[in-house]
Amino acid sequence: MADAEPDSGLLGRARAFILDRTGVGARARVPASIPGGPSFAYVFGWVLVFLLLLEATTGAALAAFYSPSSTDAWASVAYIQDQSALGWLVRGLHHHGGSAMAIVAGLHLLQTGLFGAYKKPREVTWWLGVILMALILAWSVTGYVLRWDQAGYWANRVEVGIAAGTPVIGEQIRAVALGGNDYGNLTLTRFYALHVIVLPALVALLVIAHIALARRHGTTTLPGRAKLPAEPRWPGQSLRNVLAMAATFAALAAYTASQHGADLAAPADPSAAYDARPLWYFRWLFELRVLAGSWEKVAAMAAPAIVGGFLVGLPILDRGPSLAIGTRKPWVGAFVGLLALITALTASSLARDANDPDLAKRLTALEARGDKARALAVANGVPSSGGLDVFATPPMYRARALFAQRCKSCHDADSKDRKGPVIAPGHGNRAWLAGFLAAPSGAPYWGKSKLAATEDAMKAVELPPADQADLVELLYGETGAADTRADARARGKVLFDKACTDCHALEDGVAGVSAPDLAGMGSRDFYTHFIGNPKSPVHMGDGKSQMPRFDKELTIVERDELAGYLVWLRTATPADLAALGPL
């Protein structure tokens, strides 16, 4: 170097020590030169190296959070995305960095291919590059499934499905890829091992070999620069390299920020339909399958083989010494034509989806489902039983879901088809009981049922207010509520024995003369039994209730959960119900 500093002072001595013991720094003293001078055309390889380092760095951080198990994978990714500091950014850079790598690798291929950089003596460098390209794509395939959301899961099912179509050994390929007969823990652990150990190690080795060979042979001089003098690589080319890296990173970071990281759909659900789409760099194959119709399997296998075969064969086919594009027209034409075809197919596939309004509707619904799952994961955590169970984490979810499915149409205040009493917050409390005694056939009670105001229906209880309150207290005590007044109940019991026992009973399991046994009415056990068979002689009796039996349709556990919900409603306010959140 012209401006080499003398090996004196602390810095100089340290530099001399490192050079002497390790040889590091020696190369800087023998500057490599570039025939024809530095150019932005040579930056792609170094931008790829930068992106590889970016993927390694962000990947290491993600690996410190990720859990490759079928119950935890989605939850850990959602945690990274929504609950850790800058997790969305790191994950987004990693995800979109993979896309950037595919783009820059494509540009690198285009540049070296156009300028004939695959020609003697650089064939092996080229072949290593083609293999690296394939490995980068495999890297993204193994990474996409790890998120274990609907998008990654279904894309992987299709990809493995294609591989399983391989003649003769297809089934074996599938079994090895999945780690057994179906998707599960072993699928994730082996894709994870491939993604974070096997592929990085392979890519690192091949990249080192690729760069070593590229350095050995030097750059292929750009057309029209053959007569220009050689210039040192440092700092002219190096500056162009870091500028390109900075520009790439700026674009990547801006895109990542605009998307708030990478998308994450709802947890993998083998039972739910999903519009599976591959990552965008496989879109051309996806489109080819659509166009190929019944030949789709052949197309899916043959197309990558043809493209790969062509790229590998290019140095053998195009052997002339000339680098000028004009003298290599057929090969440059085939090469550019192939890349253009892939680009056109990609664009066509994306356009096909963009022009499908039904798909857009489905995607909006799927996105909403993903957002809901993630919001629940933040609020309640993900059950250790698996990502999908996050949907069941709202309080009393199962009971409320059952209520919505089986009870709401007949019992909800807003239901047009209501046939029975309104079931709402306050159901079975003192006010509710008092209201019922005052008007059993009133609108919120039996008003909408066939029983209302018939001969069989209970008549309004007409008692002085104090007695009415004592009777309410007696019935309220039957719910099992802790806040009942014993003295009032005792007075109520006297009234009951006088006025009610002509029809009702108040003893466990004893049917009334013509009306329900009121023992335990409003307690959890009572509701469980009532829901099972409202027509039982201890309840409404046959012929009086329109409510169907649920003892065959719902399990005892389901009826018990519903009963628990009804008991909860007794002390709940509409605000409490709203606070449970949507299902």
């Binding site: 001078g37 800058l86 250790s384």
Partner: protein
Amino acid sequence: MADDKPDRRGFLKLATCAIGGGVGLVVVAPVIRLVLDPAGKTTVTTPTDPIDLGNLEAIPVGADPRKVDIIAPLVKDAWSAARDVVLGAAWVRRTSPDKIEALSAVCPHLGCAIGWDAAAKSFICPCHDSRFSPAGDPLSGPSKRGMDPLPIAVQDGRLRLVWKRFKADIASREEA
């Protein structure tokens, strides 16, 4: 190109190092922030309110201390919410019908699980042979303090215990 002028070359070198280093920093900074994030958080949340340990009648009056598993109804661990998670164990004894005591089974020395030596009528830690009396007072061995009592109460005939962890290997009793 005029890359041969010394001051211009110097500037280009400086620019290369500055841009390269800058890009490296902006990549590494969020990664470090993310990796350090859990260090400042309560990532595992165990219940702070009393945990049900079962029926009071299961602990006979005047008998040897009984080991009771402490099972939290819900533990949040980073992304997951697990039910019925064993947090640890307590040694519970009933010295009279209405006097109940609970000692954490975590050894105050270095955190091993303390066992009961029925023959010697004392607690013993299997790791470093710290011995404690049935009341939890240190008898011998390396432990710098007695076994850690845990708040326990009886409600509606059920044992209710508050689970706590304490700093190991110090003479005073400080919650961890």
